[in-house]
Symmetry: C2
Subunit: 205 residues, 2 copies
DNA sequence: GTCTATAGATCGATAGAC
DNA sequence: GTCTATCGATCTATAGAC
């Protein structure tokens, strides 16, 4: 397995196994949560023995922390990868809201990540804070700066307004998708987007 | 223990124990989550034997469902107990936002409940839906009807706007308290309230 | 480094005495 | 109805062979 390619010496470090372990851990923790995930299942999903897992990570908690920090970094890249906010507010804010909503709604991994972090935020407060610092805070700052730069919007408190924008979008995904409310109180994404842009753009005081 | 009072026959039904079990279960499930709560600890916290727990509830899952449905009913009462929305929009919406925020921020049980439901929403989707149907939906409807009734606000979509209002408030509590973000990205509640009321009230098109 | 095998603790659930 | 005692499964973590 994992034979060296032509002309290469065998570089199959143990890093290969670390990667496989993290993949297996991600699959299990995101699906079953922290407490219900067993190290046996992680090893099985990773295709290695349990002892190998313990040779690369100190214990279950250490593996969990490493995984969450890795996932937070990955999500941070996805945020930064978005094009900078520039242009007419009505167009920019609409596109931003639509893009963010679609990404969150169509990304089961994001939803599982949010579930896991919230569910474990009492027992792993520092991990919830990693999420806040590397994802929520940069997102708010980016939007806040855009809102502040468009002086024609006349927004008294851009940062608070950015929180309203993001909070509305995230909470919509929480109620409709994560907590399975879309059949109980259905609403098209576009209605939320319309109402949001109307509030922010059409309100010059 | 639990002797009949003067003139009463012994009415210490097993209902007394059911109540104690539910109290113990609430303490444990809210603190440790579903998987990490053991039936031994529940019995200990309730002050009864484990066999007694199993004589009143079919299994761990049944006890958990009964508890969540009970907590949802309790929260529903708290919502309905609020005075009906009536009066000038600026005053009403400000007071509503301030009251809701203060209640959520100063209620650790609410925060633990939200954590538990979100964390288990993949494994107990119907319980998350109980929360949506009995808490989120009535709250949105109440606010939506108020917004629709105040025609001078000129709100094109009251229901979507109600979601924006509630979503902003709940998400603020999630980031600041539940996910422990208040030291990382601090913000006074009043700033959010000001920005929200400004957006909704001062925007007549 | 990676494996198999297993120790030791704890889990959910029940049998049987009272 | 409520208890004590216990079963069998499963868990985290490690010892020791290769």
């Amino acid at each position: 397995m994992a034979r060296p390619k032509n002309g290469e010496t065998d570089r199959s470090n143990s890093s290969d196994k670390v990667e496989k372990i993290l993949q297996g851990a991600m699959q299990q923790f995101l699906a079953y949560g922290y407490a219900s995930t067993s190290m046996d299942k992680v090893a099985e999903a990773a295709g290695v023995s349990k002892a190998t897992v313990y040779s690369h990570f100190q214990d279950k908690e250490g593996l969990f922390r490493a995984l969450i920090e890795r996932l937070a970094r990955k999500r941070f890249q996805l945020i930064l990868g978005t094009q900078p906010l520039k242009g007419e507010p009505y167009v920019v804010l609409r596109r931003l809201a639509k893009t963010a909503l679609n990404q969150m709604i169509n990304d089961p991994e994001y939803q599982a990540f949010e579930r896991l972090l919230m569910g474990e935020s009492a027992r792993f407060p520092e991990l919830a804070q990693v999420f806040i610092a590397s994802i929520a805070k940069p997102a708010i700052e980016t939007i806040s700066q855009y809102l502040a730069a468009r002086s024609e919007l006349n927004i008294p408190d851009p940062e608070a307004t950015a929180r309203i924008l993001i909070g509305s979008l995230v909470h919509f995904v929480i109620t409709q998708e994560i907590m399975h409310g879309k059949n109980i109180m259905p609403m098209e994404s576009d209605r939320l987007i319309d109402a949001l842009t109307h509030l922010i753009v059409n309100c010059v005081k």
